[in-house]
């Protein structure tokens, strides 16, 4: 089966693969590319790592001064 894909295509295919959007032929092309290309393999591993990490970033809290402003804004509204 088929022609070689480029690194840019491999990066694109990796995202599409997550959603099952590759044809059998494209999956094979991606697999072959990753077997041969250590750079794209690194890209694949590192991207999954950082996607996992993005969910773990501890959320910031709202600064106290902005909370005070918000309380004033709400308190000044009549329709409550």
């Amino acid at each position: 089966m088929g022609h070689k894909i480029t690194c840019a295509q491999a990066v694109d295919y990796l995202s599409k693969k997550e959603e099952g959007k590759l044809t059998l032929r494209q999956r094979y092309q991606l697999w072959r590319h990753l077997m041969a290309c250590s750079l794209c393999k690194l890209f694949k591993i590192q991207t999954s790592q950082l996607i996992r990490s993005v969910r773990q970033v501890p959320p910031d809290t709202m600064p106290a001064t902005d909370k005070a402003v918000l309380i004033d804004r709400l308190g000044a509204e009549k329709n409550c």
């Binding site: 750079l39 950082l50 969910r55 959320p59 709202m62 909370k67 918000l70």
Partner: protein
């Protein structure tokens, strides 16, 4: 201002502002936008209390309002995408003419830097900063996909963008986020 009203407002803010802010903060590129979204959300809820179904948790209602406002915010960035190349274009060429990784942009092997752990406070700070450096729409599709678990079709529908644009945005987001992290954390 009547003290009672103020006390009620303070109670709302103390109870819900941090959760709403944290949610928005993870999903928009700057803190002022997150603050504005929280303020608009709480004001909208406060003004429309008559529409609130008291059998449901207030927090859920506030989050529903915030999520709508976030989508509106994303849609504003998506409007007119067709005429703008800045959201879709690479500012640096990660790939050469043959579409292989360009020299200087080769992904490096992170495992050679065992001292750089991917779960420290500083790492998370840099990861967040790198995400905020993406273009607005790149960050939007990335967050919707990987924080909110939406699929590409839902995201295209919500943002009113073509699937072709979606895959380009996602491609750029990942390539740039990975490179930013490598430069500013792993290999620094």
């Amino acid at each position: 201002m009547p003290e009672q009203l103020r006390a009620h407002a303070a109670q709302w803010v103390h109870e819900y502002a941090d959760a709403l802010y944290g949610y928005a903060w993870q999903r928009v590129r700057n803190e002022d936008t997150a603050k504005d979204l929280v303020q608009e959300t709480m004001l909208a809820a406060w003004r429309n209390m008559d529409r609130y179904d008291a059998t449901q948790p207030l927090k859920g209602w506030l989050f529903a309002i915030l999520k709508n406002k976030l989508i509106d915010h994303y849609r504003k960035s998506a409007a007119g995408l067709a005429g703008r190349t800045d959201q879709l274009a690479d500012e640096v060429g990660f790939f050469d003419e043959a579409d292989h990784w360009a020299g200087g942009f080769y992904p490096q092997d992170w495992s050679t830097r065992a001292d750089k752990q991917l779960n420290t406070r500083e790492f998370y700070k840099i990861l967040h900063a790198c995400k905020n450096r993406l273009k607005e729409l790149q960050a939007a599709v990335f967050s919707m996909k990987y924080l909110d678990d939406m699929d590409s079709e839902e995201i295209c529908r919500e943002l009113g963008i073509s699937s072709n644009n979606y895959w380009v945005l996602m491609h750029r987001a990942k390539v740039q986020l990975r490179a930013c992290l490598e430069k500013n954390w792993v290999m620094r």
